[in-house]
Symmetry: C2
Subunit: 677 residues, 2 copies
């Protein structure tokens, strides 16, 4: 079931080309050349005031003059001429206009304005835009190679079932060419450019309904319109079409350490991780893993665990995969007793190592095949890795046939094959049989790790709504998170009622880091000490920040706990509401030791989050340390995640949140609340 | 200048084969087939009591019967027959015996005993052993393909200047085949097996003197005879032959968290890191990076910094390299002002982004070449990355020629080329011209990061010798590391002389983790509190560990500092003396936040180590926190590293070592010393 939009994008009856060059050497001649080269069967109408013909096709002075059904216009004219070209398309209500030209929203405010105006006019005309700054798209069947990407010089389009949606134009070519060389084919490849109108999410939706597409690969530089992307990813999951993403931005991580609040902690690539995981998207971290892992996930549902069984004829060849696989947190599992016995009966030495090494002797099909079948049939693992040695290089059929046969007999279990030598023919044989095959051990480990981490899209739990409150204290009290008793003192001499010992802190909306200006004193045991401290604090802060507004000081009962946590909530502009729990203290930001999820979360998810934070190890009983109340901490995470019901809350944080002994709860010491507007 | 040993290994005049099969299909027929297939010109003497001829060569009933100069014997007989075969070789004093047969030291004590006996006999006879459990070796010129590795089915040996020494036999084949497919050739490839006699280090020495070898690649599973390896690596460095290592074992890291002492912290893969870096060895983390990075380092000396300049015609293609490169800590640098202007004059848009993106328009040689030349000529970077798009796939000569020309004009600067599409012909053109070319962005980033981290072999500083001492306290005092005043109390009622407040800790040689048994009380303000605490401690520990020897309690003056560190020293069985400094506290082991070096270290190195520990950020002034005395900490590291002069010290640790305010020094609170025997 494909929509009119889908057909206009991928199977247009006629295509108008703005700016098509008559010089076949020029980049702007490519779409026309590629369309014909790869057998596009519809009308091609170059729009050119000066010429009657372009590369053998009749040219027209304007779109109005072009005959027939034009479903798609492709615009390559200079930026200044784009609006006029689009106006012609809007006037004729061409269903889709793809703008190759760049120099719009990506260049700044002026370009953004022109782009916004184009979108507004398109919407008014009922026309959809792809781009600007899109290198175009490719559909393999029916063949529609409507792109400037030079990878289309390829002899034949690699027809297949993978779709690619990419925020990088040039990389659709890199993926196409790498797939083609490996026997991996594509249904559609789209470069989304600036996503002024058609977004990654909407294209994903369209591809879910495309019968020729069985898995969808996303090359992402950023996340735009995450809500729609999330919806589309859920639909893809429901339709049994795995969505696999490669996303840039891992190394910006190091840059975001500047500030202490959740914003900085959550604003990095790990928010994207949390988002993609919640949508049921597999995230790979290697470029080739993007195409290679598709066959690993195709036809599969998310696994129960993270257990990989391994067999090989080359010990070293398996080790180079096992090493990064283990580092990625995947568990390598030895065969259980009964299975081990059956494999031993085939003449294979089985130890308690997770690796079943058949050695050179095991290259015989009579050994390799049955061992692989036994592993595929067993439920002690979530995926099987088979490594193959030199035989795959010189006798591809002989080396690969036992794998194909074992696969046919046991099609259900996820299977990855790593080939140690250079063996393109064997890689291709495997891919053509639908088996995930890898030439780099690291991308094999990456794909297996992504597969093992794959889970169904998250069903957000119900979140009880939170009553509105103006202060952080009132809001967090309404959430049921205990906080240290505090009291505002207008002057240093106000009587103190909250229990001693107390801390004295400056109260000022203008001072973010209080300790830096001498605005905090701790451990004050009685009223006498506290009053003296309050005076000192006020004096120091007034000297250090004469311009700051000062609302007196806060006295806060000092609390003790077994450990410190940070609890954060943020409505992220890219991915939406996030809840965070991490190790507290100054070093929280240094170690970036936190767990992040899309809010709200269930108690079970909150427990998972707490378990992910390495710094809570001692609170969980490491080295017989007294246990902290991590259950209360998990409940506090759930409570904090309910802030999603208060749309005015942009950001909230409790840091530190002290974790007391098991059964004694948690208590917040310092809080931050940022409201909209 | 090659030695007799080198010639017997790689250019033997005659080779005896024990266990050579007359069935060409059998694995044991391979060495004979491969030797002849690849043009071995010397004598081949199959030793076979039952046959007069094997695969067309005259066979002999014993080695004694074989005529001519036999420089090398290759043994493939069953394990039980190996000693007899070797005895024949020892009797004839064949210079080198390579044992393919496995089932010796790698299987356990019994196999180790047989192996040791073989080595002893070989030594007595002046014969050298390669293996056992070696798949053999390959020399490309003169051609000597003396191996069971099936990769030698290859049509022609890829002759070149890279040598491979591998602890995995099968992977010499994987490297050979991957190199051959890429236009990368080899001089020698050796599988060392169990290294019963000839070690990686000794082979490395031999290859330093081999005129045909220009770089040496090590595939390591472990480190054996590190001292010899270190010496050989230094010689290789002095000879201008880069040594590049891939070492397994990264993921065992997670397993070694069990114990708190330095042993566990240092016993992991990071000790190998410290060792290889100190030897001037480049360490790569991707398998293909091992062969690909050789051309990056060849002809180079270690760089000054970690700065990479990047240019591309495909933004996405560069980003997929830049992302992992940034994550690896490499700095991507934009061109300085003057250079930026010159590049702009070529019609290229230069921003303050570190990436010079020529876009599609820049594929012209008239742009690509001059920009690359300008980057290669500039000294603002330590290496240049050039990314190439689709043109490399379809027009390899056109796309690659400007790179070759720029390289010829500027041969000095390190250059890496990443090709975004599948483009084997372009990769090969580059490799044949000696330019490092990469097909996976991750291994490109890996190789560049390894290159940027490459430093000359370390010159160990002089270490003043430390006087012998029986107790940790006395030893560390002799090193000039202040320690908290302590006092042994035989009974709880002994008068306490060390300054209050104090901590009371159980004194027992049998109790490692004192807090686990209630053996510690802190913050005791006077004699009354301390005495009561000492009684409780003794009572609890006697109840919890009735069998433990108890020597009373220790009273220790409580110390305060701005932060905690851990200081460790260990004579590692693999890599030798190591000194460690890390963030202290319970979480030290959780975050594994420490720096490690081969001991002794200079003050400058110690400062570098302190700067590497992320947890010291607050002591270094993060968020205006008061600065700690990190200079005193660095001096303590230097002092601790002098333990290398006390050979009886196996392990030493101060944890915690409190770091006081700047200028106020450090003080050790708890110490551990393990002496030999």
């Amino acid at each position: 079931m494909t929509s009119a939009l889908f057909r206009a994008l991928f199977a247009p009856r006629g295509i108008a080309l703005y700016g098509a060059s008559g010089d076949a050497e020029k980049n702007t001649a490519r779409p026309q050349r590629y369309l014909r080269k790869h057998g596009y069967a519809g009308t091609i109408a170059p729009i050119n005031r000066a010429r009657r013909e372009v590369l053998g096709e009749t040219a027209y002075p304007s779109l109005a003059a072009a005959p027939g059904e034009i479903d798609h216009a492709f615009v390559m004219v200079p930026p200044g001429d784009v609006p006029a070209a689009c106006d012609e398309c809007f006037a004729r209500r061409v269903p889709v206009v793809t703008i190759f030209t760049d120099g719009f929203g990506e260049t700044g405010a002026a370009g953004r304005k022109v782009e916004d105006a184009l979108v507004a006019k398109a919407r008014a005309a009922g026309v959809r835009l792809l781009g600007p700054n899109s290198i175009g798209l490719v559909s393999t069947s029916p063949a529609t190679a409507l792109t400037v990407n030079a990878s289309l010089e390829i002899e034949r389009l690699p027809v297949g079932s993978l779709a690619v949606v990419s925020q990088s134009g040039s990389l659709i070519g890199a993926l196409l060419s790498r797939g083609a060389a490996r026997g991996i084919g594509f249904s559609r490849l789209v470069s989304v450019g600036n996503e002024a109108d058609l977004s990654v999410g909407e294209l994903l939706e369209l591809l879910v309904d495309d019968a020729q597409t069985k898995a969808i690969l996303l090359f992402l530089e950023t996340l735009r319109d995450a809500e729609r992307l999330a919806r589309a990813a859920r639909r893809a999951f429901a339709a049994g079409k795995p969505v696999i993403a490669y996303k840039l931005g891992r190394s910006s991580a190091g840059e975001a350490l500047a500030r202490s609040h959740t914003g900085a902690l959550a604003g990095d690539d790990r928010a994207a991780d949390a988002f993609l995981a919640a949508c049921g998207v597999l995230r790979v971290r290697s470029f080739e893993g993007l195409i290679e892992s598709a066959l690993l996930a195709l036809g599969q549902r998310p696994p129960q665990g993270k257990r990989v069984a391994m067999m090989t004829t080359t010990g070293g060849g398996a080790a180079v995969v096992a090493d990064p696989l283990g580092a990625a947190g995947v568990e390598l599992v030895a065969p259980p007793h009964g299975l081990g016995r059956r494999i031993r009966a085939l003449g294979v030495r089985v130890t308690d190592s997770p690796l079943i090494d058949l050695t050179l002797a095991g290259t015989r099909a009579s050994v390799y095949g049955p061992v692989l079948e036994a592993l595929l049939a067993s439920d002690h693992s979530d995926a099987v890795l088979a490594a193959v040695g030199s035989s795959a290089q010189f006798y591809p059929e002989l080396a690969i046939e036992p794998i194909l046969a074992a696969r046919r007999a046991h099609p259900a279990k996820a299977l990855a094959v790593f080939i140690a030598p250079e063996a393109p023919a064997s890689l291709e044989l495997l891919a053509r049989a639908g088996i995930a095959a890898f030439r780099a051990p690291e991308s094999c480990a990456d794909a297996l790790a992504a597969f093992c981490a794959w889970r169904a899209p998250r069903i957000p739990p119900h979140a009880d709504s939170v009553p509105a409150a103006r202060s952080a204290e009132a809001l967090f009290a309404a959430l049921g998170i205990p906080q240290a008793p505090t009291q505002r003192l207008r002057t240093a001499d106000d009587p103190i009622e909250c229990p001693f010992p107390v801390a004295i802190k400056i109260a000022s909306p203008d001072i973010e880091h209080k300790t830096e200006v001498g605005g905090v004193e701790l451990g004050l045991r009685d009223a006498h000490e506290a009053t003296a401290a309050a005076k000192r604090v006020l004096e120091r802060v007034r000297a250090a920040r004469p311009q700051a507004r000062i609302d007196g000081v806060i006295a806060a009962s000092m609390q003790t706990g077994l450990g410190e946590a940070i609890l954060g909530y943020r409505h992220d502009v890219q991915v939406g509401p996030l809840v965070l729990v991490g190790a507290g203290g100054t070093l929280a930001e240094v170690y970036r030791d936190f767990a992040l999820r899309i809010a709200p979360v269930s108690l079970e998810e909150a427990r998972e989050m707490v378990a992910e934070v390495r710094g809570f190890a001692s609170l969980a009983g490491l080295r017989n340390a007294p246990r902290g109340d991590l259950e209360a901490l998990a409940r506090a995470v759930v409570a904090f995640s309910r802030l999603v019901t208060r749309p005015e809350v942009v950001e909230a944080e409790i840091n530190p949140l002290l974790v007391k002994a098991a059964g004694e709860g948690v208590v917040g010491v310092d809080a931050l609340l940022v409201l909209r507007g």
